[in-house]
Assembly symmetry: C2
Homo-oligomer: 142 residues x 2
C-alpha cells in the first residue's frame, strides 16, 4: 500500500460517515466517547498502563461499576487492552492500543482546554447568573 493512500483513506472515511446523521454509527461512537468517564480514563492511561485500582484512585469519584463499564467499552472498541495476570491475588492491567494512543491526545486536549479556560467560564457564568437572579434558585426553602 503506497503512502498516497493515507490521505485518501482519511478523505473517504470523512465522506462515508457523517455524525450529524442520526442513524450513523459515528453518532453512537461519538456518544460513547462523550461518556462521563471516557475522557478521564483515556487521559489517565495516556500516562502509561495502569491497574484497575490505580485508575480508581487517580480518577476521584468514579464508582467501581462505572470504571469497569467504561473500561469494557473501551476494550470492546479496541482502544485499550485488558491483561490478566493470574497471580494469587489476580492482577489486571489496562493499556492503550495504538488506536487508543491515537485518540488520547485529542481527549487530553479537551481536558487541557477545560483547565486552561476555567477562569473565563466561571466569569461568564457569574455574569450570566448576575443578570438573571430571579430564575435561578428560589422556591421552597427548608
Amino acid at each position: 500500500m503506497p503512502t498516497a493512500t493515507a490521505a485518501q483513506r482519511r478523505q473517504r472515511a470523512r465522506e462515508a460517515y457523517d455524525a450529524f446523521m442520526a442513524e450513523c454509527p459515528t453518532r453512537q461512537l461519538l456518544d460513547t466517547l462523550s461518556d462521563k468517564w471516557m475522557g478521564l480514563v483515556l487521559a489517565s492511561l495516556g500516562g502509561g498502563p495502569k491497574r484497575h485500582s490505580e485508575l480508581a484512585r487517580k480518577i476521584a469519584g468514579v464508582s467501581q461499576k462505572m470504571l469497569t463499564q467504561t473500561l469494557r467499552t473501551l476494550e470492546r472498541d479496541g482502544l485499550v487492552t485488558r491483561t490478566v495476570t493470574p497471580t494469587v491475588p489476580v492482577r489486571v492491567d489496562y493499556a492503550l492500543t495504538p488506536l487508543g494512543r491515537d485518540l488520547a491526545p485529542v481527549m487530553l486536549a479537551i481536558k487541557a482546554w477545560a483547565e486552561e479556560h476555567m477562569d473565563q467560564v466561571r466569569a461568564a457564568r457569574a455574569a450570566y447568573d448576575a443578570g438573571r437572579p430571579e430564575d435561578a434558585t428560589s422556591p421552597a426553602l427548608p
Copy 2:
C-alpha cells in the same frame, strides 16, 4: 502584555486546576462539554451563526428541548451568544464567542477522529463480540 505571559498563564491554569479531583470545577465543566449534544452543536456553529431551527434541522435526532437546554448552557458558559431579533415571528441567532471559537476545533477533532476511525472500531467490536458469543444472548431459560 508581553508574550511571555501567555505560556505562564497556561502553566498556572493547569496547575491550579486538576480535573482528576472530584470537586474541581473543571470536572464539572468537562462533564458539561461531554454532554451528548455539545460536540455536535459546537461543531455545527463552527460553520457560522445559525438559527434555532437551522440547528435542529442539521443535528438530526435532537429534541427541541435538549437543543434549547444545550444552547442555554453554552450561553451561560460564555461559549455562544444568543441574539434575539424582535421581528414578528421572533428570530434568534446563535454564534460562537471567541471562547467558543477556541473550543470548537477541539470538539471537531473528536468528531473527525470518530468518523475517520469508525471502521477500525467496528472491526474491533466485531472481533470482541465474536470471541464471546455466549454472554450475549442467554436469558430465556426455565
